[in-house]
Amino acid sequence: MVGALVNMRGQISIEAILAVGFSIVILISLFNLTWERFYLARDIGEAGEAKMVGEVLAGAINNAYANGDGFRIYLGPDVLNYTRLGDASRITGVGISLPIVIDKAGRTINISKSMQKTGGGNWMAAIPIIPANISRANPTAQYAETTIRNSGGGITIYAAQENINIP
């Protein structure tokens, strides 16, 4: 029995225990800061994407306006994917707050991005557009979501109201 006790050795040396212990203390002190930076980088990135979406839409509207009656541009799901934009569950980010609001009087596209993870409420960006006479219609078989069409008198956007809203 005594012999067994003598043969009992620690599985790792005390140096290793000390080294691991110190590393854990240092890592814990950095942990808070690291998550903070992750959220910061992600929110700024998402804000950039939100702005890009607004620019794409503004570009399409301006083009349809400039090209005259009957001209239309189709922004398919590859370009403008509302499900992915507003996706909150899959990447735990908050994406863009839909709908995208078009202010006819101010001639701007208003993008709203929720910044819950980094303390802010909603941050908005306004992207200027040229035409003021814009209306929305539900998508049809002929004009799928999202089609922007110059109908002579103005611009019609075919999209669901929960995606693009023109009050």
Partner: protein, 167 residues
């Protein structure tokens, strides 16, 4: 029998030598002496890192043309944080705490810098975000309503405010 017991006892070796114990003991006493100073310095470092993050966050979003709720709109432009410097203030506002003003050096285009409405709005966002991030780092939650109470964050050893300089 007695002899055998003693020899067994002698075979039991300690895991660390006495020199090691002395060194560790000395190290521990040194750490104990330095600990309060290290803690204080660590707090300042954490606050500076947080302020820098917050300022960059605010500058990036305002640079992209985003604005918070109830904030004036500013045209987009390249807004950058050049550096953040802690400035010790030689007066006591909060008893028992050293007051540091974190001076944020902001670079922005002239049409923002020279327009007092734009400039005030942008530097307001940047200083508030910098303080928000310090608040979050030391309190674990974001300031209520996104605005730091009294534009001042008090930690264990310090009281932080934010300043700015256009460069």
């Amino acid at each position: 029998m007695r002899l055998r017991k003693i020899s067994i006892f002698r075979e039991q070796k300690a895991q660390v030598g006495v020199e090691y114990i002395i060194i560790v003991g000395l190290l521990l006493s040194m750490i104990l002496i330095v600990y309060p100073y290290a803690l204080k310095q660590n707090e300042l470092n954490k606050a500076l890192a947080a302020a820098r993050d917050g300022a960059v966050y605010g500058a990036s979003l305002r640079g992209m043309g985003f604005k918070g709720e109830g904030v004036k709109e500013v045209p987009e432009g390249i807004i950058k944080i050049v550096r953040v410097e802690p400035e010790f203030q030689d007066s006591i506002t909060v008893p028992g705490k050293d007051w540091y003003k974190l001076k944020i050096y902001i670079s922005a285009p002239d049409y923002i810098k020279d327009n007092s409405t734009y400039a005030n709005s942008v530097r307001g966002t940047i200083t508030n975000q910098a303080l928000s991030y310090i608040y979050y780092t030391f309190n674990g939650n974001w300031p209520p309503g996104g605005i730091v109470p009294g534009n001042r964050v008090n930690t264990n050893y310090y009281s932080f405010t934010a300043g700015w300089k256009w460069v």
